[in-house]
């Protein structure tokens, strides 16, 4: 029954993607463009510039460069008018963050330099819009709160860990985070949502009866997703969380793989361009790894929980990581093993600090101070191992190699699981 449904959904998705990708992108070099959009990605500050990422008609991403001031924020509604420039991206590790992904055909990106941008004030009574504005205000307040209490690198790290809010770190620290393989901790990742869901449901369970606690938890993670920024990884985890909690409410059995498949279906059906989004690819593959590869390592006394998790996620995402970031460090497993245990504690301390601090700043500061030793530990581990390097560098990671990798991985997994099911018979 489930298989039949799965095949039907897959066919629908293939038709949808086929229709979508049949249409050529209609942008020309030098074409004038006038668009109004909500900023769903926090603009990044790079020296004296501000980088905005917007999409035209929900389709192609446009990378916009503008002056540092006036500042724009996540959730702002802006009107942008200017000329589109199409840039050919050379597949080198340095530019690869902008490149597509594993099976990407994106060799070009759309940019706009210093277009006219104005923030448009809109008053809409749309509940989603109100939620977004509220989330955006909280986000900005929390950012100020953390930045006023903690040194810049520590504040950025904690904002990333608790809320998935991306800060501008120094170039060296950013490079170290990448080399050490812990970007996923500070980026908006599904891990945040999963943990928040866990915390909320256990707190609500103390206050309300079960069903109600689960309903509130669903609202909780939706609100968190709006604060964290609606990145593909956050959306994926939120949709899976909603399925998981709903299954509990209905008293049905929940299997991770169904949640994963359904959220992939929903997201791709609504936004087919996500197929080539690195964050989307990483999030789904990593979750798949956690569902099917981690159990193989688990319980092996030699390796800890965190190392098992890291290995599983890395094995599942390796070709995408290499294809997009051009490097992989052998040390990243060790670094993850050394720092991941701090993440839940930092989430609690930072979360309490934020909630308390929004009401009474000085008290919130105390909780943030309490997180400082762990943050300094985290930073030092990352810097020490980041400087050690031990990186494998790749100029280009061919598509054929990626496909081959996944075929081999799939065969190994099928072999292990068929053996297991035979053993259980």
């Amino acid at each position: 029954m489930v298989y039949k449904l799965g095949i039907v959904l897959l066919l629908i998705l293939i038709v949808r993607l086929g229709l979508y990708y049949q249409k050529e992108s209609k942008h020309n070099n030098g074409q004038f463009m006038d668009l109004e959009t909500t900023l769903f990605t926090q603009p990044q500050i790079l020296g004296n510039y501000q980088k905005l990422t917007v999409s035209s008609d929900g389709r192609d991403k446009i990378f916009v460069t503008t002056t540092r001031f006036p500042r724009f924020n996540y959730g702002d509604y802006v009107r942008i008018s200017g000329k589109i420039k199409i840039i050919q991206v050379q597949p080198t590790p340095n530019t690869s963050t902008l490149k597509g992904g594993l099976i990407s055909n994106e060799k070009t990106i759309l940019t706009m330099s210093f277009p006219k941008i104005e923030a448009v004030k809109i008053s809409r009574n749309d509940p989603w819009y109100l939620l977004l504005s509220l989330a955006s205000v909280i986000r900005q307040k929390v950012t100020v709160l953390f930045n006023v209490a903690l040194p810049p690198a520590s504040a950025g790290l904690l904002l990333g860990i608790v809320f998935g809010i991306k800060s501008s770190f120094s170039p060296e620290f950013t490079e170290n985070l990448r080399t050490a393989g812990v970007m996923h901790v500070i980026a908006a990742s599904g891990m945040n949502v999963t943990m928040i869901g866990g915390f909320l449901s256990s707190i609500f369970a103390l206050l309300f009866r079960r069903q109600l606690a689960l309903v509130f938890s669903i609202f909780g993670i939706i609100f968190y997703a709006f604060i964290a920024g609606l990145e593909p990884s956050i959306l994926r985890a939120t949709i899976m969380g909603i399925f998981g909690f709903s299954a509990l409410i209905l008293g049905r059995q929940y299997l991770g793989i169904y949640g994963l498949g359904l959220s992939a279906f929903l997201m791709l059906f609504i936004s087919p361009q996500l197929l080539f989004d690195v964050g989307f690819q990483l999030s789904f593959l990593a979750t798949f790894g956690l569902l099917y590869i981690r159990p193989i390592f688990q319980g092996k006394s030699l390796i800890g929980e965190d190392v098992a998790t890291t290995l599983a996620a890395q094995l599942a995402t390796l070709p995408v990581l290499l294809g997009n970031f051009g490097a992989y460090s052998l040390l990243s497993v060790i670094v993850n093993g050394l720092v991941l245990w701090t993440v839940p504690i930092l989430m609690v301390l930072g979360g309490i600090g934020a909630v308390v601090g929004l009401v009474f700043a000085p008290l919130g500061k105390l909780f943030l101070y309490l997180s400082l030793p762990l943050l300094l530990y985290f930073q030092n581990v990352v810097s020490i191992f980041g400087n050690l390097g031990l990186k494998f560098q790749f100029q280009e990671f061919p598509l054929a190699l990626s496909i081959g990798y996944y075929l081999v991985l799939a065969s190994i997994l099928m072999f292990i699981y068929s053996k297991k099911s035979k053993a259980s018979l």
């Binding site: 004296n48 001031f69 504690i345 301390l349």
Partner: protein
Amino acid sequence: MKKFLFLSLFSLLILTGIFIYENLKFNDHKLHVVFCNVGQGDGIFVRTPTGQDVIIDGGPSDAILSCISSHTPFWDRTIELMFLSHPHLDHFVGLISVVQRYTALSFVTEELFNKTTSFQELISELHNQQIPERFVFAQDRFKTSDGVVFKIVGPTKDFLHRTSPEGIIGENKEFASLETLVEYGNFSVLLTGDSQDTELQDALDSGLIPKDGVKILQVPHHGSKSGLNPDLLQELNPKLAVISVGKNKYGHPTAEILNILRDKNIRILRTDQKGDIEFISDGKGWWFD
């Protein structure tokens, strides 16, 4: 839950350790003058013997933030005094982030404006936070309770009005920039911003700079050739020269200026080569890291 409480207590213990360590390290009753490595621009941080914090220019980006935080204890979030030598991007942009993250008590600058949105942003941020703004000229001075003097040695009102009659800073033209002499006992540092040799000559002629010169000279305008000449250097007689400079397209620091300094056998420290450069003084002697 038990594990969480245990770890929080452990964290508190370490925090106490960090507190003691930073208190000993940063409250050492000495003057610290740090030329922060902010790239192409100026960003100077001063911590007085009793722990009052002063900033002279904020550099072109947020780089100054990590410089400040690595030279202050983590709980000290007050900047007692903030100077801006002149309203150019490579000197003031970092100050916007500073006032957003720290409690700044006062802002001191010359009476010149810049029409860019970035400068408007700084002004509106200062207004939002109700930070008093004060315009100064040569002869004005600030003395902290622990005996550190910040003496404004240039520009004079006359120089400022002559170079910018409209009160607006012009790019690539002669313009005024605050020159601040930091004095503590026998130790002195002359901070020059982007000033030109004419303005520095004015300052020397006015007698505001001691006859026997200064200990440390910040080479004006990132080592631009219009900032310094051999005669000026002779009179200023510095023991050491600092150039605050980063990657740039103007050819800073110029070969002319480097040669003038080498001819006089003056040791040169550059932020693009050394990173943050920190001078420490107890009022009698001075040394650097």
